[in-house]
Each structure stands twice: as C-alpha cells, then as structure tokens.
C-alpha cells in the first residue's frame, strides 16, 4: 500500500488553465520528441513509398533546372561565373539550397491542413507538425547532394576547407523556410487561400534569387538592398562553402540576410503560437 502510494506520488501532475500551455511550451516540445520523429518518419516514408518515382523526382527536378539555367544564363546570356568555377557547378551550388528552402516552405505551409484530423483529436505542441516536414525536405536535399558530388568528380573540382561549414548553412536554409512556413500554415487553418501564395512565392523567388547567376553581377550599390531577400545570404553561403575562394561572401549583405531570417523566424514562431490555441476550434 505504501509502495503504491509512493508510485502515485511520483505521477505527473498536469494543470490545465488559460495560458498554461504557453508557460510549459518548450519543455512540452521536448517531451513530444518521439512524436516529432515518428511524424517525420511517416512523411518521409509515405513520400518514398513508391520508391523509384519518389527518389527519381528528387534527382530530376534540380538536375533539369540546373541544365536549363546553365544553358540560358551561362551559354546564351553569357553571364560570368565565379572565378574559375564551372558555370554548371555555380548553378547547382545554388539549386541545392534553393530547393531545400522551397521544398521546406511548401511542405510546412500545408502541413497543418494535411494533419487536420490529428489536431482536432489529440494534444501535442502543434509546432511539431510543420517542424517535422523539414526532415522530408532535408532528405530530398541529401539525395540531390549526391548529384553535386557526381558533378564535382566530373569537373575535377575539389572543395576547400569551407565545405566543413556547410551544415551551418543547411540549418540556415531550413530556418529561413520555417519562419514564413509557420506563419502561412497557421493562417491556412482559417483561410485556405493562403496556400496559393506559396507556389507563387516559390516560382517568383527562383528568378529573384541568385540561383541561375552569381550575386556578384548585381551592381555594388544595390547589393545591400538585394540582400533583403534572406535567400541571397543562404545561397552565397552555399557557394562559398562549395566553390571555396571563387565566391567570397559579401559580409554586410550576409549579416542583413541573417537578421531577416532571424526576424522572420521570430515572427513566424510568435504568431504561430498565438494562433495555435485556436487551431482545434477552427480546423
């Protein structure tokens, strides 16, 4: 009996009151890490269920875009590459972060709607759902990364020590997509028209961001303004890691991009958390 009482004494005590979830938010997020892993695993495994097509798609999309961009910008428009780097490599070094960013953004912004049945029926910190979609985008990224390795072997291009810093920029690309992704997915719960914004942003962004060309061709006086697009910093970072000294980072612009990523992330997380409480009532 005493034994049982002591077991009961150790039971978690849960208090539900207005604003309570707010206080325990980050500890709760940690407590639900298994759910995060399983949702991420579910997304990945569903995506590659029909294996051949799933993986082929992750390879074909960036590869074909890279070929088209190399032909148009490199051959036809004859834009300069960074230093001695082959133009195709220059494009692909930007395609990688761009598709990571755009996949993560599209997946995360539709994630709440796609999991509506979960939200209405079980409790967990809702942030888990959009965060778990980042894993899928990351797996796609790893697959395309294999193409990069292939291309580097083909061009006999060895990366410098900078490649070691690549993980930092991968995280930066994911965080850059998470901010707007959270905001849009939360708004999507109530207003389904927000989902149409993302395909537009992705299409538009591909040409506005320095994917098909080097950001060095932007006139010096506009470069800071151009860096207001947070992806510019991410892409420059990737090129610097992969192409090494051929494409040095424009530091003021990079810091600006970094600040904007941080701001968007803060905005996304805080508005998501504000709206999160009503998800179950609205969805």
């Amino acid at each position: 009996m005493t034994n049982q009482a002591s077991i009961h004494a150790q039971e978690p005590v849960l208090i539900i009151e207005p604003g309570r979830t707010e206080k325990n938010y980050w500890t709760d997020l940690w407590r639900y890490r298994e759910l995060f892993l399983i949702l991420a695993w579910r997304d990945v495994s569903v995506r590659y269920k029909q294996t051949i097509i799933g993986i082929l798609w992750a390879i074909l999309r960036p590869l074909l875009t890279m070929v088209v961009f190399t032909v148009i910008f490199g051959r036809i428009a004859k834009l300069p590459s960074d230093g001695s780097a082959p133009y195709a490599l220059l494009v692909f070094a930007a395609m990688l972060p761009w598709s990571l960013f755009s996949n993560a953004l599209s997946e995360s912004s539709n994630s709440l709607i796609n999991n509506a049945n979960l939200i209405g029926k079980v409790y967990f910190p809702r942030l888990i759902i959009p965060a778990a979609t980042l894993v899928t985008a990351f797996i796609d990224f790893l697959i395309s990364f294999i193409i990069l390795i292939g291309m580097m072997l083909y061009y006999q291009f060895a990366p410098g020590w900078q490649i070691l810093l690549l993980p930092a920029f991968i995280i930066l690309a994911l965080l850059a997509s998470l901010g707007p992704g959270l905001w849009i997915t939360a708004l999507n719960v109530k207003y389904r028209d927000f989902r149409y914004i993302i395909p537009f942003v992705v299409q538009f962004g591909l040409y506005v961001s320095p994917v098909g060309f080097s950001s060095k061709i932007i006139p010096e006086q506009w470069r800071l303004l151009y860096s207001l697009n947070p992806i510019v910093g991410v892409i420059d970072g990737f090129r610097w890691c992969i192409l090494g000294g051929n494409s040095p980072i424009y530091i003021p612009g990079f810091l600006l991009s970094l600040a904007i990523v941080a701001f968007c992330l803060w905005l996304g997380v805080s508005s998501f958390r504000k709206m999160e409480k009503t998800f179950a009532d609205l969805i």
Partner: protein, 427 residues
Amino acid sequence: MAEIVIKSENIGKIYTIGHQAERGSYTALRDILMQNAHTLWNKTKDLATGKPIIPGDTLEEVWALKDVSFEIRRGEAVGIIGRNGAGKSTLLKILSRITEPTTGRVTIKGRVASLLEVGTGFHPELTGRENIYLNGTILGMTRVEIKQKFDEIVAFAEVERYLDTPVKRYSSGMYVRLAFAIAAHLEPEILVVDEVLAVGDAAFQKKCLGKMGVVASEGRTVLFVSHNMAAVESLCRRALLLDNGHIRFTGTQTSAISEYQRLFSAKQVSLKNRTDRKGSGEVRVMSINFRDIDGQTIDNVVCGQDFDIVFQFETLSGFRSNRVVASLSVRTQWDVPVFLLHNRMTGNEFGRLPSQGSFVCRIRKMPLTPSTYKIGYSIMINEGDYLDIIDDAAELNVIAGDFFESGEVPPSSHGFCLVAGHWSLES
C-alpha cells in the same frame, strides 16, 4: 476513499461567433464602401498581429461551458451525459488539452490518454505494422511500450497475416479492429473516451464496451461521454449531467440518467393536433403516456419492468358501439414489426365507452432489448371498420435493466426480444 485525480474548478470556455449585421434597404454606396474598408483595415490589423479573425459584422460570445466544477477519484468510471450541444465534447477537449479553457483550472494527476476517435492519424499508404507505431505514438505511447505490446495488439486485432500490407487494402472491419486494438492497449491512469462506440458494428461495440469495463475494473479512472444511456448505465458508477454548458446534476449514474430523462423528454405525447389520422374519428386518441405499476408517469421503460401504456381518448356524443377494439403495434426504428397486441386477443372487453377515458394496456416483464421503438395504434369496431389510426404515434424508450434477475444485462446487439428461459443439465 481514493484520492482525487481530476479536479476541475470553475472551468469555462467562450466561443466567439460572428453575425452578419442587418442593413437598411436604403444604404448609400458610400456607406457600404466605408464599412467594407473599415472591416478590411481591422482584419488586416488582426492578421498582422496574429489575432483570430471571425467573419461577420458583430461578434457574439457564447459560453460553451461555464463554471464547471467537479472532482473525480481514482478508479472511478464517470459518465458525462447531456444533449447535443450541452458542452460534453468541449469538456473532453479541455480535459485532453486539445483546446484551452477560457477560465478556471483543472488539475489532473497521472497520465491521460484520450480516445476521441479510433485510428487517429492512420495513414492508408503505411502498413499495419507501421500504423501501429504511428497511431500508438500519437495516442501517447512510447516506442518501448509499443514494442512490448506489439504482439498482443496484433493478436487482439487478428491481422497477423496482413501486418506488412498497407492499411488501404484492409477491409473496414480489419481497419477498425486494428485501430481499436491499439487504443485498447494504452495503459494510462486516466482514460477519456468519446463516443467511439458509435462506429463499427454491434459486435465491435460490444467488444469496446467489454474492454472498457475491464479497464474500469482494473482501478483506472475512466471518463466516458455517450448518448448511449444503456452503456453509461452499465459501465459507469457515477455521472455528470451537462445542460447548456452547466453541470445540472452529479450523482450515481442511475439517478443522473433519470434526471436527464426527467429534464429532456416529453412526458406525454400529445396527439391533439395530429393531422395524419385515418378512420372515422368517432373515437380519437388525444395522448399517449407510460406509467409504472404504481401509477407514476415514466419516460423510459426498463427491461423486465411491468408497465402500462395509456391511450387517452375522446368519444363523439353519438357513438354507441360496445364492441370497440384497441390495438397496439410496436415496430423498431427500421420499421420491423415487433409485436401487435389488441384487446380481443387478450379477451378483454371495454363495453360502452365514456365521452372521455383511457385504454390502458398493461405489459408484463418488458421483453424488449434496450432501444427506441415506434408505437402505433388503431381503434376499430370490427376488422376494417376503423375509428382512429396513427402509425407513428409515440416512441417507446427501453433502457437496460436486470431482466433475468441475474445481474446480467442483455445486449441489444443480438435481437430485440428477451425470453424468460431456464437452463439445466441432464445426464
């Protein structure tokens, strides 16, 4: 007395709903434009700051729950009953943390698992094995726990052969069995269950009920929301009655159910204004009600109970016949005839009818299983010479009871008739 595991203090929940403002018929275009611009500006502001936006011009706040306080002790099985919209689901959602209360506080000791649906999060493309892990985690089990119970779950669901088949290829029966098997192997201290029993066939519902009975008897706390009074009656020992977001009654399940019935069912079915009558109208039944043998009006009949069905009638002044036959017919909700009973059959004669009176039909030891039945009647002189007929005159609610005087409550899933029998062994 066991310790309190759920303590709810004055919890309340507001929902804001929008209404379209009424507009005068002569509104200037300018006014409309101004108003729309104003709303648009406000909404943009709300959007930017992350406030929820509610369509409509004027907003109204509705308390889905207000001042709800109760205590639940360890090992209790408590039913939550009430009509649709009384706040039952909101209460469950608050207890399972899906939505936050607007006011008040709930303290819960122990791990809560809520079962608001079976098969939450099942993915059709994933295999049975994968879905067990997915659904188990969603319901709050850890990987280690699922691994331990895996074989048990599979055996319970009887899907061994299809474990590596995507669940989209499962029959609906297999799907539900697997979903329920996972839920049944949750081992929380507190289990919150919504009307999951509303899905599946009768046999499945029975299996669910049985499993929940086991959970309750193992000393775990169960909160059970249901419309199925028979299930609440047999599964719970206590019940809360919710009405309009308030707690109307707390007490034993039986008294809560009878309070529910006292509050919400019409005691007497008035037939005065029915226009779907057939027959000459020389005798007309004005109302139907049910009485127990002490003469008290009742709303529900318990299996095995003796009771009266009372047809109050009025007779036109010129009516003289002394050979009137009153006939009662009972059908199921699906119009399957259950029985017919008239006074020629029972050998009872009424003689000359007064201008007002009642035909009383005594039914002994109610032989129907719990359900709602339709009652029709016909009043005639001879076969084919009808005075008054209504096919759907009233409803007869039958609730679970101890028909066999053995404590065994008969399930309604195996037919609607209870037979007083006896078993013995001969060798």
